[in-house]
């Protein structure tokens, strides 16, 4: 049972999760799970519980605080916290709540009733950038470059560009 006399004491029955949402697809792209932790810090700084490197996120942007079993969301950063289109300073949280860090920042979803998990993260640190996106098709690349670079116009351009640079130096 929670120790009501000391709201900061660990409470093993306290479980919550925060999800970083993909704004286009509406699904979590990264999640953090917390157990027995009455204070969850969110921001860009490395020591935040939910650390998000994003230029719209302040180093110390927001906190989720649990006092006497009641969660509240508190805005701390200069970019503000937006819930249902309203900029908030502090609001009590009843159930699952979606909020945004700044008017252009990332969207997070807080789930105060998330079941306990062994690890704080339910998902791997999924890169928000797909790995295969960086794989170039080199044979296609060589073919396309050759189509242009082997043409008369390009060869003449190479020659003239060299001349022009020498003249300007």
């Amino acid at each position: 049972m929670a120790d009501l006399s000391n709201p900061n004491a660990p409470d093993s029955s306290l479980h919550a999760a925060i999800h970083l949402m993909d704004s286009a697809l509406g699904r979590p792209i990264r999640s953090w799970q917390f157990s027995g932790q009455p204070l969850i810090s969110i921001g860009r700084a490395d020591d935040r519980d939910v650390q998000i490197s994003d230029p719209y996120v302040s180093r110390n942007h927001a906190e989720l605080r649990n006092q006497c079993g009641q969660w509240s969301l508190v805005s701390l950063g200069r970019h503000g916290v937006i819930v249902q289109g309203e900029t908030i300073a502090e609001i009590p949280i009843q159930g699952e709540t979606t909020f945004r860090l700044g008017s252009s920042g990332p969207t997070l979803r807080f789930d105060p009733r998330a079941p306990h998990a062994d690890n704080r993260m339910t998902m791997m640190f999924d890169s928000t950038v797909g790995e295969n996106m960086f794989e170039l098709d080199h044979s296609k690349l060589q073919r396309e470059v050759a189509e242009i670079a082997d043409g008369d116009y390009f060869l003449e351009l190479q020659r003239r560009a060299q001349q022009l640079r020498q003249q300007r130096q």
């Binding site: 792209i29 252009s104 960086f134 242009i148 670079a149 351009l157 190479q158």
Partner: protein, 283 residues
């Protein structure tokens, strides 16, 4: 030269207080091409903002719209179609000299710079918006060598320190020429597989044309992206420097090309990142 004067009172955020009026360190003028593989990367917007920030650092800057097929950068400088008497097209058809198609847009994008002050100044050479002119270019083509003469003449006759060339997306003759005569190529890319593959072609061609400096600018990066990781991977993929990673910018969308973003939001992360790119340009 075509001169258009605007009242600064119409542009409350464009005061000239944040400009460097100290004497310029004379150096060889630089030609800078901005290019992207596909449309919609924010190329024109980025070019206009880089040009204005460069001018604000105390320089004479030209911007030329070589995107003859789909011109657009004039909108950011609030140059209305009715005000464009002469354009790049007129120069290419031999109807005027290049400097006669240059519009002094300094009052609009910098603010109250005295008329006699040589710097900062921004000149815009727009492409024609008349559909007949665009159709003629597409139908008949033009002497690309003349474009080269125009670029060199613009630098010399307008006494420019920097000339920014806003190119047409993709690879065509004028784009290749713009890249070939440039001292610096800025490639704007979105974190998108198609953009990455297409940009690789431009990178290879620029290397073959021996462009002295090439910078990548990653634009429209989604919130929550691991920026250092993205930067590292793109640099490794192209073996080229990523000079800036620009966040997806909803304020930019709201501004709807109505003015220069860095004038309106000078402290925005987007503007700050562009300031870093300008430092690289001025080096």
């Amino acid at each position: 030269m075509a001169i258009i004067s605007w009242s600064c009172s119409a542009a409350p955020n464009n005061c000239a207080s944040n400009v460097n009026n100290s004497p310029r360190v004379t150096a060889l003028p630089k030609i800078i091409s901005t290019h992207s593989f596909r449309g919609g990367t924010g190329k024109s917007n980025t070019t206009a903002n880089l040009a204005v920030l460069t001018a604000r650092a105390g320089h004479r800057v030209g911007v030329i719209d070589t995107d003859i097929q789909s011109p657009g950068i004039h909108v950011l400088f609030q140059l209305e179609e009715s005000a464009i008497q002469k354009s790049l097209n007129d120069y290419l058809w031999g109807r005027c000299r290049i400097e006669e198609a240059a519009y002094d847009v300094t009052p609009r994008c910098i603010g109250n710079v005295p008329q006699e002050a040589e710097h900062p100044r921004v000149f815009l050479i727009p492409s024609s918006l008349r559909t007949g002119e665009i159709a003629r270019i597409l139908r008949e083509g033009y002497d690309v060598a003349l474009l080269n003469d125009g670029l060199q003449d613009a630098v010399r006759r307008l006494n420019l320190d920097y000339l920014f060339i806003d190119t047409h997306p993709g690879v065509n003759e004028e784009t290749l020429l713009s890249i070939a005569v440039s001292d610096m190529l800025i490639l704007i890319v979105r974190p998108d597989k198609q953009d990455f593959q297409g940009t690789a072609v431009a990178v290879e061609l620029a290397r073959k044309l021996a462009v002295p400096k090439m910078l990548l600018l990653v634009n429209k990066v989604a919130p929550g992206t691991n920026v250092p990781e993205l930067r590292e991977k793109i640099q490794a993929m192209y073996q080229a420097e990523v000079a800036g990673v620009l966040p997806l910018n909803t304020e930019m969308v709201r501004l709807a090309s109505s003015e220069i973003f860095t004038n309106r939001f000078p402290d925005h992360p987007f503007s700050q990142e562009l300031q870093g790119v300008v430092k690289r340009i001025l080096e």
